[in-house]
């Protein structure tokens, strides 16, 4: 036979559980916009049944339920959605870093424009054409020197711009690596806190949310492999083949990327396959730098211009009768400039093929102007100098376009992963409001139950044994 007050206990369990559930709804609602927050839910179960003893049998007609218990505060999270989200984050990081760096160069080129190299090249050849009309004119010589100087400075500026982009990428790589180390340290600290909470049998839901948020940020810098090891709730994180967070030793590693782009964790070599850091290293060492990079291409062009012009210029005679004078010095885009004799006097500019034809011999001037259409082997192409530069501009455009396109595509993938993750972990206000109504009703119902039992007891306590009174 159950106790007279048995029902009160069941009703109280209902009231308490409904309160917990309402508190959780409140927690969810207030964190609806908190980054990284995962929706929580109170898991409930019927309380263990009470097999009460009877007068004739030990178990009576059956087991009587004793109400409800909250088994745990569950954190709604989909591990697979996390995986695809992190992968997409790494890819977006890689292509965004690449796209941003390249779009700067895309603008620095100023093509098609009035200050770009192609315009300066045209201006230079045009000045030689004009000089070929009046080789004895000091003004025309001055124009050639000016156009040559402009062209050389154009090369210098562009080369400096590219080097600046490289330096910026280097600075961002450094910052990125130190941020990765910072994040790894924080994850390691959270690992320890989580392990302590788990050890006393509780669910550190909000700490896990914080840790996942940190891992998301980590994934934007480099591709990470996360493995949850053991029952303690700790995670190990690997970048390439090396652990940056080691849950067995409770330590965080140090990521370093050297000037050649090689990555190490605690001194051991590893590879970064994607993420912001990969994008930056690619831009610095393969796109701008490297044997086939933009700087190398530009250097090839500058050297070709200097060699071709000097070859014809040195064979000619200047207004001052001198010969063998180079027009340009330097063999790279960074160092090209007009030579000292030409800088000193425009009379050093050679126009005539023989000393006897001074001052109006123009065959050398005509020859240099004709270089504009000279097809020769430049780098890996057989083309004119202008053609080579157009090809270079086209390549920068293609690279930039491709990087921004790839970033867009990966952002789409990331948005899809975000949506999937959010559909599991995100807070939906409508759903929470419905839950609120549900739990409020069940709270009210349990409270009403108490009232009903109270009325029953009232009958029992005050109404019995007063027959006829």
């Amino acid at each position: 036979m159950a106790s007279t007050f048995f029902g009160l206990n069941s009703a109280v369990s209902g009231i308490l559980t409904a309160q917990r559930a309402l508190n959780t709804v409140s927690h969810n609602l207030t964190n609806a916009t908190t980054p990284g927050y995962s929706r929580q839910r109170v898991d409930t179960a019927a309380a263990p049944a009470y097999a009460h003893p009877g007068l004739t049998t030990a178990v009576g007609v059956g087991q009587l339920g004793t109400g409800v218990v909250a088994t745990q505060y569950a954190r709604l999270r989909d591990g697979f959605a996390d995986l695809s989200h992190r992968a997409a984050t790494s890819d977006v990081g890689q292509f965004e870093a690449r796209g941003q760096a390249l779009s700067t160069i895309d603008t620095v080129l100023d093509e098609p424009g009035e200050t770009g190299i192609s315009h300066l090249l045209s201006g230079y050849w045009g000045a030689w054409q004009t000089l070929s009309l009046q080789p004895d004119s000091a003004a025309a010589r001055e124009a050639v020197r000016q156009a040559g100087d402009d062209l050389a400075r154009g090369f210098n500026d562009l080369s400096r711009g590219l080097a600046a982009s490289q330096a910026e990428a280097s600075a961002r790589i450094e910052l990125g690596a130190s941020r990765v180390n910072d994040l790894a340290g924080q994850v390691n600290e959270l690992n320890k806190q989580i392990a302590m909470v788990v050890a006393v049998g509780q669910q550190p839901n909000d700490l896990r949310d914080q840790r996942d948020l940190l891992i998301d940020e980590l994934a934007s810098y480099a591709n990470v492999t996360v493995s949850e090891a053991g029952a303690a709730g700790k995670v190990s994180i690997a970048i390439g083949s090396q652990l940056i967070v080691d849950s067995t030793t409770d330590t965080a590693g140090t990521l370093a990327i050297d000037a050649a782009g090689a990555a190490t964790v605690n001194g051991a070599a590893t590879t970064i396959a994607s993420g912001n850091l990969r994008g930056l290293v690619d831009v610095r060492d393969a796109v701008i730098g490297g044997p086939d990079g933009y700087i190398a291409q530009l250097d090839t062009l500058a050297a070709t211009v200097a060699t071709a012009v000097n070859g014809r210029h040195e064979a000619g005679f200047g207004r001052d009768g001198g010969t063998g004078t180079p027009f340009f010095t330097g063999t790279t885009a960074a160092t090209i400039g007009i030579s000292a004799p030409v800088r000193a006097s425009v009379d050093a500019i050679a126009t005539s093929g023989s000393a006897a034809d001074l001052p109006a011999g123009s065959d050398v001037a005509v020859g240099i102007a004709q270089l504009q259409f000279l097809v020769q082997t430049i780098g890996a192409s057989t083309t004119t100098m202008d053609g080579f530069y157009a090809q270079f501009v086209s390549r920068v455009g293609l690279d930039t376009d491709q990087a921004s396109r790839m970033a867009q595509v990966q952002k789409g993938v990331l948005a899809a992963a975000e949506a999937r993750r959010s559909s599991v972990s995100g807070v939906n206000l409508d759903e929470e409001m419905t839950d609120m109504v549900r739990f409020q009703k069940s709270y009210n119902a349990a409270a009403r139950m108490v009232t009903a039992l109270d009325e029953m007891l009232e009958t029992l306590v005050s109404g019995m044994g007063v027959v006829g009174r």
Binding site: G361, V366, F373, D386, V393, V396, G397, A415, G426
Partner: protein, 295 residues
């Protein structure tokens, strides 16, 4: 779908719309389709090639204009020198008439001498301070007015210009070709000296020889004029070809670089409509939730 995700997805779409709108606006306001190489990487290479062609054509156009001036100056000087030789020939014919008195012949001989000075003057014609018959030595007179002979050494270098890709033209006639036809005929000053001497000596054989030599000179100068005229013709043809090409290149360049305004404005209007629609839907889907309906 969580509430936060709805808002973020909306925001992402709105931003994409906004980017598209800004892009369309930029095209309309600049009138250019290509502002950076990444806008059309292949188109930009073609555009750079066309721009180079434009600049080169302009340079050749300037070369042609300058060459035409040079050739025209040469031609008019040649015409004058032809007149001088023609006059000398007339005088020779007149002096060959055996009925003339000695004094009349001496008068004719002195006119021949003054023709020499005239020839020197024409031979020293200048264009913008440059001696047109001086070869590459444009800074010194090809003929000496005092001695009335060509100044040694005679510079025989051609003055060449590029007037089209790989096409060179020499625009000058040098002093040696002006004063002496190819072959054994002596130079024009010697011929005139001989003529005036023959006139003075009443040497009819000498006068007859001078006559035939002057004929050779007239033939020579006429040939030089023909040569110059042919070059002028050729250059004028080339120039008109460049003009046609400039128009074609310009329209090709516009095709690649410039925005088709009708298309761009239609695009802009459409994007504007989409952007506004997105804003309106956003306002609708974001506002209400159960919160607004529960009491």
């Amino acid at each position: 779908m969580s509430s936060d995700q709805t808002v973020r997805a909306f925001l992402a779409n709105l931003q994409a719309n906004h980017r598209g709108l800004a892009d369309a606006q930029r095209q309309v306001s600049t009138g250019k389709r290509i502002l950076t190489p990444s806008d059309d990487p292949v188109g930009v290479a073609v555009a750079l090639g066309l721009r180079r062609d434009q600049a080169a054509n302009e340079a050749w156009g300037r070369n042609i204009d300058d060459s035409l001036t040079w050739l025209n100056t040469t031609d008019s000087a040649l015409g004058q020198s032809l007149d001088v030789v023609q006059r000398a020939r007339e005088l020779a014919v007149q002096g060959g008439n055996g009925t003339l008195s000695q004094s009349a012949r001496e008068l004719i001989a002195s006119e021949v001498q003054s023709l020499k000075a005239q020839f020197v003057e024409i031979g020293n014609s200048t264009l913008a301070g440059r001696f047109v018959f001086g070869g590459a030595a444009t800074d010194r007179q090809p003929f000496d007015p005092a001695t009335q002979t060509a100044v040694a050494p005679v510079n025989t270098s051609p003055i060449t210009r590029e007037v089209a890709q790989g096409s060179l033209v020499s625009v000058n006639i040098t002093a040696d070709r002006l004063q002496k036809p190819p072959g054994a005929t002596p130079d024009v000053f010697t011929v005139m000296d001989d003529l005036s001497a023959a006139l003075g000596a009443n040497d009819s054989a000498g006068i007859a020889e001078a006559l035939s030599r002057l004929d050779a000179h007239m033939g020579n100068i006429s040939a030089l004029r023909g040569e110059t005229a042919a070059k002028v013709n050729r250059l004028e043809l080339t120039a008109s070809r460049f003009e046609a090409q400039a128009i074609a290149t310009g329209s090709q360049l516009a095709e690649i670089e410039a925005v088709d305004l009708a298309e761009a404005i239609t695009d802009l209007t459409m994007r504007e409509a989409v952007y506004q629609a997105a804003l309106a839907t956003g306002a609708r889907i974001m506002q209400p939730s159960l919160v607004d309906f529960l009491r």
